[in-house]
Amino acid sequence: MEGKEKKLPDLFPKETTRRGFLRGTAVAAGSAVAMVTVGGLAAKAAHAQAAAPAPQKDLMKYLFAERENCTGCRACEYACSVYHTGVVRPSVSRIHVLKYKDSIDVPVVCWHCNDAPCVAACPTTPKSIIPDPNHNGIILNEKTCLGRKCLKCQEACPAQFVWVNPDTGMPLMCDMCAGDPACVKACKDQSGNPQGPCLMTNKLGFGVNLAFRDVKPNEAGKDLLDLTFYPNVDGKRPTPAKTKKTRRS
């Protein structure tokens, strides 16, 4: 793993900037979540009355994680595997949640990078993975994909998002659930008093996806651990050794 001295990517040089930045995204994306919800309710109502035509659902193109809000419940993994296979099975869920040092939960999502390094790395012609033009989800063609023999996409993903299906050896790509992400709906259910949802969707990427995707899950965990438990109150975090001693004293 990264050495002690290695800094996180210089995306957010100051802690305050980072937090402010995240908040900004939350607001912008939050309104989009609200839209989805209203759409969903309206759809239900329409179903009941049958007369009114269901309003068109917005297709979302980007996924975000407000990681500070994650409770580690893994409802997103449940929802993703249920959406794709019908039953709960985290090992085939696209999204996964890393428990970092058992104090922090890091949801690992596909950021749907505009330049999609995974797609660029795919050696087959035509490409075995392509972003869907409507909803940006990465669609895998199982017929042409070389699977376990290749996995160049997994290697290329800077977010370390791509896992491999243990049965088929195919990469597990986030297909955005055709524009209406199941994980986001599940996360919203899980949240509530006092926690807001962690996962969000949006039609725009704001470049956030490009910025975030270079932070590896472990780095994000370390970053989040510091941010959560040791914000710069006095500029220093006690060393683990010292912590241990006090506990034992």
Binding site: D105, Q190, Q195, F229
Partner: protein, 607 residues
């Protein structure tokens, strides 16, 4: 005998630590229908495989780690049972814990893990799907639970693995040591840690890639989604989401009158405002953590921000840990209390029993029954965090006179000390009580006095709840996200999920019968060890001393209360007036094999 169709795999991983081998034990569907899983299945194994008066630390004694049919499915918040014969109380013991460990066992393709034997040198187990490895734990021995957890995760080379480990307390055979699951969750109360330590098993790590088979997925998802929705929306539970169980500290002090204080002397502790949820929110909590698929996220993590424990990340206070190591010890320094809680987690020792022992000791010192000379010169007083910290360390390492005495637990301590100390010894069936005083909260007496493990707050606070909790501990689901939230719909929802999941035809009546059967199996085990009506009572203090202050001032648990509770429960589950399951009951539940055991016990104990 038929194979399981869904919910269960029909196989249990059986591990022999003496031979360092493992094999698959096939379990037919009929057994699951009878005992469900988790704690129920363990009770079945304990009553069929053990003869009376088994040595709980014998080489072939087993620990059963049991999730149930609902684990790893879409069911809301599922848990795991760690069950065995308790080396602490000599009775049946099951400890339930949350987090993700139990689900991972299911996803690895096992219905449970049955561990027997004793390793020559320390080991830890790596379980990845059906591959099991025995790993050397010599270097991990003596490490605390956090270090052990980290080392095992590293050894797995997989940050997504889930662990259950013991700390120094389990290694040193402290009878109320526990297993710490994924760092902050504990399977505690009856010496599971001691048993693992005795087997030289430092920990387990599990990772699975399978899915649990479902017979009728459409029907199952329908009911599971409904059950989940209740957990998401139930109004009354929004507070637990926000405040965790710590919120009960204030509530039980100011309204319920059941917050235990200074070794159960009173339930009035106005200083609770210095150590309760409000204070935790102000100066400690940082984030909310949930078990799998749980919308309640009752676990709160925080960091101590000042003083000598500055920088310490810890979990809590929960109602029980904050009660036992807070108000019960007269603590007014919040950070000191959190440090005590975290020390227990790190050492792998049950914070309820530890708090009980420390409170009892302090009162004995206060009353002059114990002298500092008996405690290596230490003089614990209410609120003295440093002395308590030192005493916990002594208990864990059984160090000096104090360590040797206190590590015995309240019951044996009072027997050894005598001098009227029995009057202040708060335990049921040899186990310390949790943080609800049953004088202020009378319903709690059902769980303490009638529950199978003794002194346990987690076995249902009414006759019907005892049956419901026997079910949820076998299924295994969470008491918040399922039992209490589903309320009157428990039978309907459970059956509605189990039938399409497992391909069963259970009725709601069967739900109650199954729960009663599980309670009866557990009771059979305890009756064989000499338990009967005389033991199903609260500690003497709660029956003879009135609460001196607080909202329930003057309350006491009377003999009539005891009698009413016992009669009501015995007749509901089909036991006789002595609290012994009748032959007719055993037959009705399909437990004919226990009839001889009961007859022998009746003769042996003159019942």
């Amino acid at each position: 005998m038929t194979a399981t169709k869904g919910g269960c795999f029909g196989k249990i991983l059986e591990i022999d630590l003496s031979k360092q081998t493992y094999k698959t034990r096939e379990v037919p569907d009929e057994i699951y229908q009878k005992a469900i899983g988790g704690n129920g299945l363990a009770a079945y194994f304990l009553t069929t495989e053990y003869k009376a008066h088994k040595d709980p630390l014998a080489e072939d004694a087993f620990i059963y780690i049991g999730p149930g049919p609902l684990n790893g499915t879409f069911c809301v918040s599922t848990r795991t049972s760690f069950a065995h014969m308790s080396p602490y109380t000599g009775l049946i013991s099951h400890a339930e814990t949350g987090a993700h460990f139990g689900n991972e066992i299911k996803w690895a393709g096992w219905d449970g893990i049955y561990i027997k034997g004793r390793s020559k040198k320390p080991v830890w187990l790596s379980i990845v799907d059906d591959k099991v490895e025995f790993k050397d734990a010599t270097k991990l021995w003596s490490k605390d639970t956090e270090e052990t957890h980290e080392a095992i995760i590293k050894g797995m080379n997989d940050p997504y693995a889930r662990t259950a480990v013991i700390g120094p307390a389990g290694e040193n055979q402290v009878p109320f040591s526990c297993v710490i699951v994924e760092r902050f969750r504990a399977a505690a109360r009856s010496g599971t840690g001691m048993l693992m330590g005795n087997k030289k098993l430092k920990g387990l790590a599990v990772r699975g890639s399978k899915g649990v088979p479902v017979v009728d997925n459409v029907k199952f998802m329908e009911m599971a989604t409904y059950a989940k929705k209740l957990a998401v929306e139930k109004e009354a539970w929004q507070g637990i989401k926000r405040w965790g169980t710590a919120g009960l500290m204030e509530q039980n002090n100011f309204f319920t009158g059941s917050l235990i204080t200074k070794n159960y002397q009173t339930t009035w502790y106005p200083d609770v405002v210095k150590i309760g949820a409000e204070e935790a929110n102000r100066k400690f909590w940082k984030r909310h953590v949930a078990c799998n698929h749980c919308p309640i996220h009752c676990l709160k993590l925080g960091v101590i921000r000042e003083g000598k424990y500055k920088g310490l990340i810890a979990e809590g206070p929960e109602y029980e840990s904050g009660g036992l190591l807070g108000s019960n010890l007269g603590m007014t320094n919040f950070n000191d209390m959190i440090a005590l809680i975290e020390a227990c987690d790190a050492y792998g020792i049950d914070n309820i029993s530890t708090g009980g022992v420390l409170g009892f000791t302090t009162e004995l010192v206060e009353k002059g029954v114990l002298k500092p000379a008996d405690l290596d010169g230490l003089k614990p007083k209410w609120g003295d965090g440093d002395t308590y910290m030192e005493l916990i360390r002594k208990i864990v390492y059984k160090e000096g006179k104090a360590g040797k005495l206190l590590s015995k637990g309240v019951k044996k301590m009072s027997a050894e000390i005598g001098k009227g100390s029995e009057a202040y010894a708060v335990h049921v069936k040899g186990k310390e009580l949790a943080a609800h005083d049953a004088r202020g909260d009378k319903a709690r007496a059902y769980s303490y006095a009638l529950g199978s493990c003794g002194g346990d707050h987690h076995e249902g606070a009414s006759t019907r709840a005892l049956v419901i909790f026997a079910m949820i501990n076998s299924l295994s689901t969470c008491s918040f996200a399922s039992a209490l939230i589903w309320g009157g719909e428990n039978a309907k929802i459970t059956v509605g999920m189990l039938n399409p999941l497992c391909g069963w035809n259970m009725t709601e009546d069967d739900y109650w019968t199954t729960g009663k059967r599980i309670l009866t199996m557990e009771r059979v085990f305890n009756v064989r060890e000499g338990i009967s009506r005389k033991d199903d009572i609260l500690p003497v203090r709660m029956r003879t001393e009135k609460l001196p202050a607080g909202p329930k001032k003057g309350a006491i648990f009377t003999e009539e209360d005891t009698k009413k509770m016992q009669d009501e429960f015995y007749s509901f589950v089909g036991w006789d007036a002595k609290g012994i399951p009748t032959d007719a009951t055993l037959k009705a539940y399909g437990l004919e094999y226990s009839i001889d055991d009961i007859a022998r016990a009746r003769k042996e104990y003159n019942l």
